[in-house]
């Protein structure tokens, strides 16, 4: 198997959809191949960095701004009996 084929296994692993067999093959290959090891490490690091970004929250007046911009409720036409 060529290295780029193991790349597909890496993504299966990251999506938590890897089969036991593929996982075994991937682990064996990573022990032998420094460049795939580096690739896999970089992918894992990327995910850690993105997931580790600070949570941002909406401005305090967000809800009132939205409520003020909503179209006005339609008045009921005619007299209800």
């Amino acid at each position: 198997m060529k290295c780029h084929e193991y790349e597909a296994y890496m993504h299966e692993y990251l999506d938590e959809e890897i089969s036991t067999e593929h996982e075994k093959n991937l682990k064996q290959h990573l022990q032998q191949c420094v460049s795939c090891q580096k690739h896999f490490h970089e992918l894992s690091k990327t995910i850690t960095l993105v997931k580790g970004m600070a949570t941002v929250t909406a401005p305090d007046d967000f809800t009132s701004k939205v409520m003020n911009k909503l179209p006005k409720e339609k008045k009921k036409v005619g007299i209800q009996r």
């Binding site: 690091k45 997931k51 941002v56 909406a58 967000f62 939205v66 409520m67 909503l70 179209p71």
Partner: protein, 187 residues
């Protein structure tokens, strides 16, 4: 949570506008965060997030009450952000100046395969670097990466939000991860 949302939606449908405020309160941070990470700018994110809630309100009668409200809301917000990104970046004339960017051309907005120069990395805050690199991703990769790793949604839910087959979502996540890996190498 779903039961509360359904109750509030029914109140809104009956004409009780105030019930909508509670829906906005529940989802405002998630929607704002989605827009912020997609657009990389607080002001634009606020505009788009507000617009998403206004559109959801106006179209609430067309929402299928048996579906998940957040999926529907995220779809509206994601589509608004994608439209905004597309409008900012014309498809043609890569060397033409992009309006309002003070001399930036389209070339400077294309994500490059090369990692950031190290001296540049050192002078920036880590959060800003990551946000900048997310913003350099093409919009089709950016949306899946933000939905998966910032909003922490499942692949199935992302496929519903983007109205796209699961296989396409997976391919885009793989390519997005590879692109970001290249860009964040030196960080």
């Amino acid at each position: 949570m779903d039961a509360i949302i359904k109750k509030r939606i029914n109140q809104v449908l009956k004409g009780d506008q105030n019930a909508y405020a509670e829906i906005v309160e529940l989802y405002k941070d998630k929607v704002f965060q989605l827009c912020y990470r997609m657009l990389g700018n607080r002001h634009e994110a606020e505009d788009m997030a507000q617009e998403a809630f206004i559109r959801a309100y106006v179209n609430i009668a067309s929402f299928n009450i048996n579906l998940k409200f957040s999926t529907w809301l995220y779809r509206i917000a994601t589509n608004l952000c994608i439209d905004r990104i597309r409008k900012k970046k014309p498809d043609f004339y890569l060397d033409a100046e992009v309006s309002g960017t003070d001399g930036l051309t389209m070339y400077s907005q294309i994500p490059s395969d090369t990692a950031l120069p190290e001296e540049e990395v050192e002078s920036m805050e880590l959060q800003d670097i990551i946000q900048r690199e997310i913003s350099r991703l093409p919009e089709k990769y950016r949306s899946v990466i933000v939905l998966k790793y910032i909003e922490e949604l499942s692949l199935n839910e992302i496929s519903e939000i983007l109205d796209m087959p699961l296989g396409t979502v997976k391919t885009r996540i793989h390519r997005g991860r590879e692109a970001l890996r290249q860009q964040l190498r030196n960080v």
